[in-house]
């Protein structure tokens, strides 16, 4: 309702000028309602996608079986094994099954290696990033002291027949202030007998599901659509004279009589909306 727009309007009857103009409802609000629905749908999609990608992310169990090899008293899962699982969420369980005492322990790779130094050791490494493992056995002492209870282990689990150690899935010895020491796992019986060969890694994967990305993408797209500002429409106030058709006074485009007629009476001025610039075609 700028003064510039009003300046090109046809002459108006001064008697009616002082009266407040009444708005014509219906045209613009219909578009806004649709936009709000689109925005609401976008938020729903985004929220659902976000939930699926975070707290409601579905879990699935993954396993890797350590290849059996040799009769060494020690079996070491070197840093590449836990490192191969890096980036996956949650904890990993190392399960070892044997016929007598079973030990599963974690320590820094350097400490595990130092303890095993000189002993015949089966070392398991990650062959590739797909989770396949390979084993090799080194020559050395066939019998070593019982490694259970060593002060080098950051965590250990012992049992008879089997043992399972669940550890946070991290490749490094990580505390509040320190990182940087890769972790390895030691599996043994009692040092005097061969290490258990049935060793399994079980971990929980929680990848972001595809549907979450689809929902997020769709939600973001709808959000952008809803956020697009439609062509701006300036309301134009036209005070219709009580007598005579508007067209007779103005050679400009015909006013949208149909919209105005909704609540217009012949004796009342009404507010009409026209697209911005529609009045620019009027002669100067």
């Amino acid at each position: 309702m700028s003064g510039g727009d009003a300046a090109v309007l046809p002459p108006v009857e001064t008697r009616r000028d002082a009266r407040p103009a009444r708005g014509v409802r219906g045209a613009r609000p219909r578009t806004g309602l649709r936009g709000r629905w689109v925005a609401a749908l976008a938020v729903v999609l985004l929220l659902t996608g976000a939930l699926l990608a975070t707290v409601a992310r579905p879990a699935r169990e993954a396993r890797a079986t350590v290849p059996t090899a040799g009769s060494a008293p020690l079996l070491v899962l070197d840093a590449s094994v836990l490192g191969g699982l890096d980036g996956r969420d949650g904890a990993v369980a190392v399960r070892a099954t044997g016929s007598g005492p079973v030990l599963v322990a974690t320590g820094t790779a350097a400490d595990v290696s130092a303890w095993a130094d000189g002993a015949a050791t089966t070392t398991v490494t990650a062959a590739d990033t797909a989770g396949s493992l390979t084993a090799s056995t080194s020559q050395g002492e066939a019998q070593v002291p019982d490694p259970a209870g060593s002060d080098l282990w950051t965590a250990q689990a012992t049992g008879t027949g089997s043992a399972e150690l669940t550890t946070e899935l991290t490749t490094e010895l990580s505390t509040e202030l320190t990182t940087g020491a890769p972790l390895a796992v030691l599996v043994a019986a009692d040092g005097a007998t061969p290490a258990p060969t049935a060793v399994e890694l079980v971990w929980t994967e929680r990848p972001v599901p595809l549907v979450a990305w689809v929902l997020l993408g769709a939600g973001a797209l709808l959000g952008l659509l809803a956020g697009r500002r439609p062509p701006r429409r300036e309301p134009v106030v036209v005070v219709l004279p009580v007598t005579g058709p508007v067209a007779a006074r103005s050679p400009g485009p015909r006013p949208p009589v149909r919209e105005a007629s909704a609540d217009a009476d012949d004796t009342e001025p009404v507010l009409l909306r026209r697209p911005r610039g529609s009045d620019r075609r009027s002669p100067r």
């Binding site: 350097a110 320190t178 939600g219 959000g223 956020g227 500002r229």
Partner: protein, 323 residues
Amino acid sequence: MRPTGAPRWAGALTAAGLVLAVAGCSPGSPGDRAAAPGPVPAVVTAQVSHVLTAVGQVDPAALDGRFGGAELDVRRAAVAVRAQVPTAPEPAPLAGRVLMTAVPPTGEWPRWFVTALEPGGGAVPQVVVLEQAGPRDPYRAVAAAAVLPGASLPELARDGETAEPLAADAAGLLATPADALSGYADVLTRGDEAPAAASTVDDALRTQVLSEQQAERDGVSQFVEYTAAHAPREGAVWSLRTADGGALVLGVLSGTRSFTPRGVGVSQTLPPDLAALAGRSDAPDGLEVRTAEVVVLHVPAAGAAARVSLVAGARGTTGVEVR
């Protein structure tokens, strides 16, 4: 109704925030590890707890499982004495609330760390050195000293979770750790005549040892040649940088008091505790009493106005040798 832009922008921002939040939650993002890098300590908290629990619950029949060095010598002697002299004090277990732990960075063996334990029940806090000889060995308590009345442990320099160990010949101090230790041993041997006496603050342990030696010398000197000497025990010095640029030097001194008869016919009767250790109650040809003094010294930085001071100390008999 005129449409406003604010809700639309809010919606767009919300959407962007959600997408960013989800991206941030995805595994493998760089924000997963916020820990600041620092040297890797030789042991982490869980290992320290494991070690201290084992030390506190050690089987008296297998002391060498968790005690070593001077601490094992003193405890073995105490057990031997108590077996013969029921009134002799029982060695207190090394246990209690952990007041402080100082762990050097991980490295080659022997590895060690220092802790301070408050036993509770009004007992004096103990400063304990735990050492691991090799990767397959347990950490053993090799030295323990009681914090002296009125003294407090200086604050240690820290780098992340680790304390900074110093070599025995580390420079930049009023005296190197090794020199500070030998200087203090000399003070216990010669008293105020020792060159280091002037640069060392007087303390309760020094007063007790010197007065005890003087009393023994006065008591036997008419018939017995008496000597008392203290020297650093080999391989028993552990030093940590303090926050003030100085050092906390923990060490063990070996003390030897020798009683040698001046002539034939002089008979020496041993008190019950020494007799229990010697396995006999007399020493016609003399004897040597061996002790271990655990000292914890604060050595100031070079150029500082302060002097070397003892913050914790302990003394125990480790053996008696009858000639």
